[in-house]
């Protein structure tokens, strides 16, 4: 079994589904959940800082039938924080 993929490995423009959060840092855990990084939702990397860290992501509703609903601000986080988010990648092509 491959080790689970994490958000810091997602490339610019790629989409993925969030499978869970693993971190020892309780505050980080709470913060990520509060901001909408919850299992089942989709996430996309929008932008990276000049040194590659931090990154900006956008979270979205999970249902593939929903139109692209952009009802959240972008979220920026450090790569170390993105490492706490487990994902399963999806194709970038429209689905």
């Amino acid at each position: 079994m491959r080790p689970p993929l994490t958000l810091d490995t997602l490339r610019l423009g790629e989409k993925a589904e969030i499978s869970g959060i693993s971190t020892q840092d309780q505050s980080l855990h709470r913060k990520l959940l509060t901001m909408g990084i919850t299992p089942g939702r989709h996430i996309e990397v929008e932008c990276k800082a000049p040194l590659g860290d931090p990154i900006t992501v956008r979270t979205q509703a999970s249902s593939p039938l929903a139109p692209k609903m952009n009802v959240s601000h972008g979220l920026s986080l450090r790569l170390t924080e993105a490492q706490a988010v487990r994902i399963t990648p999806r194709r970038t092509a429209a689905c």
Binding site: Q26, T34, C47, P54, S62, A66, N70, S72, S76, R78
Partner: protein, 730 residues
């Protein structure tokens, strides 16, 4: 509302008016949702701002006169994202909303508010609704205000108020607070809601997001236990007027690990419950967040319309320019330079004006009073002291205004985003940049602006090292010593030696700050939570009025808290410098005052650094303000105070002989370098300490600041002096 309910409401209102019940309305919402703008519109200028006891979180409240109802109290809670957060703002807000156990109050607990108004940003609906639905669960009468619908429309989002209201089961109004759109409708709904509370309307626990009845029941049970343990009640029923929803919400927070159990009994039960739920496939730590967001998704799908082509406003386009490697960095440097120049240069005009005013005022007062101790106390103590507080206001105002504009426009997050990686190498973070930059002008506004840093440990690290950024008050000291002792030579033809020494002092401060921040993070501040996760709101044209409001609040609080400490210290210093009186009852010369005596007393300690009692007096006097060093030295040499830059003081310094009368120069280049290093690192500004205490809420941090800087200053000045005399034969 049907006519029956309206009739009930008015009769209840009539009976209420006679019992003078003043309901409390809590205004809650996410940061940057326009909540503050709404508060300002509703209250005008009539609000009070103060701190919650024991912490540095601010509380704004005002009494409102609601047409159709009567008096109510409006409380503006700090911006929060959740009731289960770990930041001090979120903990304070949650305590207010849950009601806090307090043995001195009736029922043993403070009353939760009577009405909650939640403000959410239409362009950030999901996160806003995350908080709003948590608040709805509490069962208190509730009103949802969807603000910034204009921004939402620009992003292709149209909120259907009636549908949203039906989905959530609460009244909804749409607003553009900044343009006062929808305010009248908002004010019409308020009386009905306040009256319904008076009817004793405590909602059943809604919890519509929760797919598991078992989870809800366990949460309720644990909430009851927590309250029981907090209130010391033994008959098992929760005291106070907490509704089922509030109790269950507390239980959810306990299960997810975000609320601390009141004691071991609760703690044990929570652990058991978690295991029980785990065996049924429920992960309590994320159950609520996951399912609440699922519910929000379906609510949004039903109550919000989207245009078929996703209209992207200019935010993404602007971000391409502002956050990329090339143009992003250049624009960033330009904006930072602009802010720095404003705080450094533009502020100097009002500062000079204030200075002139204070001097004029002292002259007037001196004219009225006969010479003597009272006049001296008033003029040199009180007026000088007050002046030294007021002098900071222009810089604070300009810095806060600039930050207010940056924050409102959305650029502040981008600035932090760009700087974070670099700052992190030194134990700081992206948002520390602007406070530290401002500290090159003056650490007072710099430290106050660390409010933009949400994580306490990062904020503390920034505050502790901010004074190491060589502030403008050190410049007269550097300038004097360099002019007197550093030869006016040029390296390689065009590098001025004097200029290089000056630059080195600034660099020394920066390196010192980087090292100390890194050290603090590794030792003292280790383990305290510090995350960067941060929203990037859409850009919009900043409102200068919003920024000005912010400035006013800050200045009021600065004067109230830090101002009193600074004034007290000024008076103490005045006393030391002007007593004991001579036999004729006049002010003694400086060398014979208490201050001078102290200078002589510390002479043995400072001799290894190359100083004598004269410099000792200067150093002690610098506690009022660093630049006082120059004028106090002039006084020691019996020169006029304005001769600080003149040839006479420089000549006097160079020609000071040894104590034993020999004409060999007492002060050398080594002395000057050592003294400059001392000034670079020493904590000599009592105003800084006062502001540090205000921003951290305790005296232990200013004490640490004073301690580490004094040690650093002494050791490094010693090393500099010994090194310069031994190795460089200076």
């Amino acid at each position: 509302m049907d006519s029956q309910t309206v009739a009930d409401a008015s009769s209840t209102r009539r009976s209420l008016e006679s019992s003078s019940f003043i309901p409390r309305i809590a205004l809650a919402g996410t940061p940057n949702s326009g909540k503050t703008t709404l508060f300002n519109i509703l209250t005008g200028l009539r609000y009070k701002v103060a701190n919650y006891p024991g912490v540095t979180v601010e509380r704004r409240e005002a009494e409102l006169d609601i047409p159709g109802f009567g008096k109510a109290q409006l409380v503006d809670l700090p911006g929060i994202y959740t009731l289960f957060g770990h930041s001090i703002d979120e903990i304070i807000a949650a305590r207010y909303l849950f009601g806090e156990p307090d043995s001195k109050l009736k029922g043993g607990i403070s009353r939760p508010p009577d009405l909650i108004v939640a403000v959410v940003d239409a362009s950030n609906l999901e996160r806003g609704l995350y908080l709003a639905t948590q608040l709805i669960d509490l069962g208190t009468p509730f009103l949802l205000a969807v603000n910034m619908i204009d921004v939402g429309e620009r992003r292709g989002i149209t909120v259907r108020a009636e549908l949203l209201s039906r989905e959530l089961g609460v009244p909804v109004v749409l607003l553009v607070a900044q343009k006062k759109t929808g305010i009248s409708q908002f004010q019409q709904v308020l009386p009905q809601l306040l009256a319904s509370k008076a009817n004793g309307g405590e909602g059943r626990a809604k919890f519509s997001w929760c797919p598991s009845a078992e989870f809800r029941d366990i949460a309720h049970e644990i909430g009851v236990l927590q309250r029981k343990q907090q209130l010391g009640n033994s008959d098992g029923r929760p005291l106070g007027t907490a509704s089922g929803g509030l109790i269950a919400t507390i239980g959810v927070g306990l299960l997810s690990g975000d609320i601390t159990p009141a004691d071991a009994t609760v703690g044990v039960r929570v652990e058991e419950a978690r295991k029980e739920l785990q065996s049924k496939g429920i992960d309590a730590s994320q159950f609520e967040a996951e399912h609440r967001y699922r519910m929000i998704e379906s609510v949004v799908r039903r109550a919000v319309a989207f245009t078929s082509e996703q209209i992207r406003d200019r935010t993404e386009a602007i971000d391409k320019i502002l956050t990329n490697k090339f143009s992003g960095s250049i624009i960033f440097i330009l904006i930072m330079w602009l802010i720095f120049q404003s705080v450094f240069t533009v502020a100097s005009y009002p500062m000079e004006l204030l200075d002139t005013l204070m001097t004029g005022f002292s002259r007037v007062v001196s004219g009225f009073l006969p010479a003597g101790r009272i006049r001296s106390l008033l003029v040199d103590g009180v007026i000088a002291g007050v002046g030294s507080v007021l002098i900071f206001i222009p810089q604070i105002a300009i810095l806060y205004f600039s930050i207010g504009l940056l924050e409102d426009s959305g650029y502040l997050s981008r600035a932090a985003f760009l700087m974070d990686k670099i700052m992190r190498r030194f134990g700081l973070q992206g948002r520390s940049f602007i406070p530290l930059l401002s500290s090159f002008a003056c650490a007072i506004p710099g430290i106050m602006s660390t409010r933009v840093i949400p994580s306490f440990s990062d904020r503390l690290a920034t505050i502790l090292v901010a004074p190491l950024m060589s502030c403008s008050a050190r410049l007269p000291v550097y300038t004097l010593l360099i002019a007197a002792f550093v030869p006016n030579r040029y390296l390689f033809g065009f590098f001025s030696l004097q200029g290089l020494v000056l630059l080195s002092m600034y660099l020394l401060g920066i390196i010192g700050a980087a090292c100390m921040a890194w050290l603090f993070k590794k030792t003292l501040l280790k383990g305290l939570p510090s995350y960067f996760v941060m929203e990037m709101p859409p850009y919009h044209l900043p409102s200068p009025i919003y920024a000005l409001r912010n400035v006013w609040d800050r200045i009021v609080l600065f004067v109230k808290d830090a101002g009193t400490v600074i004034l007290a210290c000024s008076i103490v210093l005045w006393f030391l410098a002007s007593h004991p009186l001579t036999e004729q009852g006049e002010q003694p010369p400086l060398r014979e005052s208490y201050a001078g005596t102290l200078g002589k007393a510390i002479e043995p300690i400072i001799t290894p650094l190359g100083y004598d009692w004269r410099i000792g007096v200067g150093i002690l006097a610098s506690f009022a303000a660093r630049e006082v060093f120059v004028s106090s030295l002039a006084t020691v040499y019996n020169l006029e105070a304005e001769d600080g830059e003149s040839e006479s003081l420089i000549a006097a310094l160079r020609s000071t002989g040894q104590d034993n009368g020999s004409p060999t120069a007492r002060y050398t280049v080594a002395t000057a370098l050592s003294l400059m290093v001392f000034y670079c690192f020493a904590c000599q500004c009592m105003s800084t300490l006062a502001v540090c205490r205000r921003e951290t809420g305790s005296w232990k941090w200013p004490a640490l600041m004073f301690g580490y800087m004094t040690v650093l200053a002494y050791v490094l000045a010693l090393v500099t002096y010994k090194g310069a005399t031994s190795f460089l034969a200076l």
